[in-house]
């Protein structure tokens, strides 16, 4: 009996080995996917997977999306599931929240998060707080998504970063993807999450292609909300960032590497809940911290990270004060030279790293 089992086992192995030899291994098929397409595919797959998921917002249907993120979805799913709204954020955000309360799973798109201010009462008071106020009777499975932060040449009213505002509120999960992989995995997680999720995209990242492995392309690829990712390992200093600024951190790290300074770049992925543990672990290795964000400095993401570090175990590992690189504390100007100098540039990150390391 045992020998028979043995034979079968080896036989099976032998067969697979033969097959493996026959169709010899090629590396898994990775593809280049833009952030826009990653978001589009994620929504498409989730719409297909669960009939209760639907998308509403301005221009999402017949126009294929103001930034083409929802291209093709209306054609495929029709009026019932892809809904064009009038330009009435407070109303349609409220309608989306009510639909979620009654059992659907809406994706509510804000053309940019600047317009979410018109609807912010529905996001905070109707969505975020309800599960708590009802002591668990009424959940709100909704995703609010759209571009956040500075774009290019759109001036002050269209350039604000809302990560800190939404990150402030209990009852919300706040997510800020950087790469195509982030966009895909986090949006799927957000849609499947039974709670209100604010999903902060970035218009300047929509067209940027990233390599996406076969694993990431699978329909059930999810990135857990609340976990940061180390995009680049390093020993000398920790750079913590989210969204588009991760690109700048990596570019700065490449320049610094030539001078022998190895930066560890952490992509936050989630604003709330903050993955403080990942940051602390890194600081315990590098002993130095610089945060980088596009938003304003006061009461911002960097301010919060620094406070966490002060209060936690990593403080004793710091060899220098932790600092923040942020947008300039002004409304966003229009002229290119002014706009370029209103947000962090690679040279600002390099400068801050060197100051912190005292080199």
């Amino acid at each position: 009996m045992a020998s028979l089992r043995c034979f079968l086992r080896s036989g099976k192995n032998a067969v697979t080995a033969v097959l493996r030899r026959e169709f010899h291994g090629t590396p898994p098929a990775a593809v280049q996917v833009t952030v826009r397409d990653a978001l589009n595919q994620a929504m498409d797959e989730e719409l297909e997977r669960d009939e209760r998921v639907f998308l509403l917002g301005e221009e999402v249907a017949q126009y294929d999306g103001a930034y083409k993120v929802s291209r093709g979805l209306w054609k495929k799913y029709g009026d019932k599931r892809i809904i064009d709204t009038p330009i009435t954020e407070m109303g349609f955000a409220g309608i989306a929240v009510g639909a979620a309360m009654a059992g659907l799973r809406p994706i509510c798109e804000f053309m940019t998060f600047n317009f979410s201010m018109q609807a912010i009462d529905q996001v905070i008071n109707s969505a975020a707080k309800t599960y708590y106020m009802s002591a668990g009777l009424q959940s709100v499975p909704i995703v609010f998504r759209g571009p956040n932060g500075a774009s290019a040449g759109v001036a002050a009213q269209h350039s604000q970063c809302f990560a800190a505002w939404y990150g402030h509120c209990p009852g919300l999960k706040v997510v800020s993807p950087w790469s195509a992989e982030d966009a895909r995995g986090l949006l799927k997680s957000a849609i499947r999450d039974d709670n209100p999720v604010v999903f902060l995209e970035n218009e300047l990242m929509y067209g940027v292609p990233f390599e996406m492995s076969e694993e990431v392309q699978s329909k059930d690829f999810l990135i857990p909300i609340g976990k940061a990712k180390i995009e680049r390992q390093g020993n000398h200093i920790t750079l913590v960032s989210h969204s588009r600024m991760v690109s700048l951190c990596l570019d700065a790290a490449a320049v610094l590497a030539k001078e022998g300074i190895e930066c560890e770049v952490i992509n936050m992925r989630t604003i709330r809940p903050l993955d403080a543990e990942a940051i602390e672990t890194s600081i315990m290795k590098t002993n130095h911290l610089v945060t980088v964000e596009g938003g304003w400095p006061q009461f911002g993401i960097g301010a919060e990270i620094l406070a966490w570090i002060m209060e936690g175990p990593a403080f004793n590992y710091l060899d220098a004060p932790a600092v923040r690189v942020t947008g300039v504390d002004i409304p966003m100007p229009y002229a290119k030279i002014l706009e370029d100098n209103s947000i962090p540039q690679i040279k600002d990150i390099i400068f801050s790293v060197k100051k912190t390391l005292n080199v």
Partner: protein, 362 residues
Amino acid sequence: MTDVVSSEAIAQKGSYKCDVHKLEEGPPLQAVLTREEGLQYYRTMQTIRRMELKADQLYKQKIIRGFCHLYDGQEACAVGIEAGINLSDHLITAYRAHGYTLTRGGTVREIMAELTGRRGGIAKGKGGSMHMYTKHFYGGNGIVGAQVPLGAGVALTCKYLGKNELCVCLYGDGAANQGQIFETYNMASLWKLPCIFICENNKYGMGTSVERAAASTDYYKRGDFIPGLRVDGMDVLCVREATKFAAEHCRSGKCSSPYVTTFALLIHCSHSYRTRDEIQEVRSKSDPISMLKDRMLSNNMASVEELKEIDVEVRKEIEDAAQFATTDPEPPLDDLCNHIFYNDPPMEVRGTNPWTKLKSVS
């Protein structure tokens, strides 16, 4: 004792009749009230009345804290509306919500215990007066007007899932001036959402009288392209018939468009900003419970003793509930951080200082 009576009284009654907007005709001027229905409406209205008066007492004793918006005097609305729809339909209102919490399935006990902030409260003491929920009842909403788009969203779900259910979206005369309500009228109309918008006009938005807040007090017309009705909100049968009429038109298969119904009320008692004289005057002229009682007695549908017996039972129920509400313990401190997220693993929540880590479960 007659079992059934037809209520021509509606057409003959007082100064209010049913005004229509963008409609050929309104609800029928005759309604049938069975003895069973009459007794049930009477009991429910009386329960709401006694519950609210008790709450008023507890509020004045500072046993209820914060806000306590009372519904006594408006009972015919909550009871009439519920009589015109099904429990499988949906309803949402603003913060004057205790009556609706009851008609939608809550118990007096858990409502009162919520007002006193105890663990036996309908929201375990975490919501208070303005945040009570039951099945197909979405509160209890503290922000004036915010509940109206929410209600249209509930209606969207009804239509999406093909359930032949509708949503009643209530708001007051004060909220009627809110922009988001007009945004909602627009989208509900465009998308033919099965909702009935109901304005309970008690002539005061917070402390400001309607004439000082609204350029047009014809709230039933302000839906513009939406058909509207104005009915006497003190008469439970008027309210029921108007609701039934609107509901029939809302359900899928009929003309599937939203309705604006204003119930014009003469509110009495306990609205925070009235003068004593105003209150006395209104109370003596128009009381929905007295109106129903008179109607039933004069048509031989019930005896004085029978109604008195109901009064006694109701009073006892309220006393028991108040007793519970004042003796049930407050929520345990380890419930403080629970119910932040649904269906999530337990997580840590920061306390008031960095060394205090509190536990949160779904």
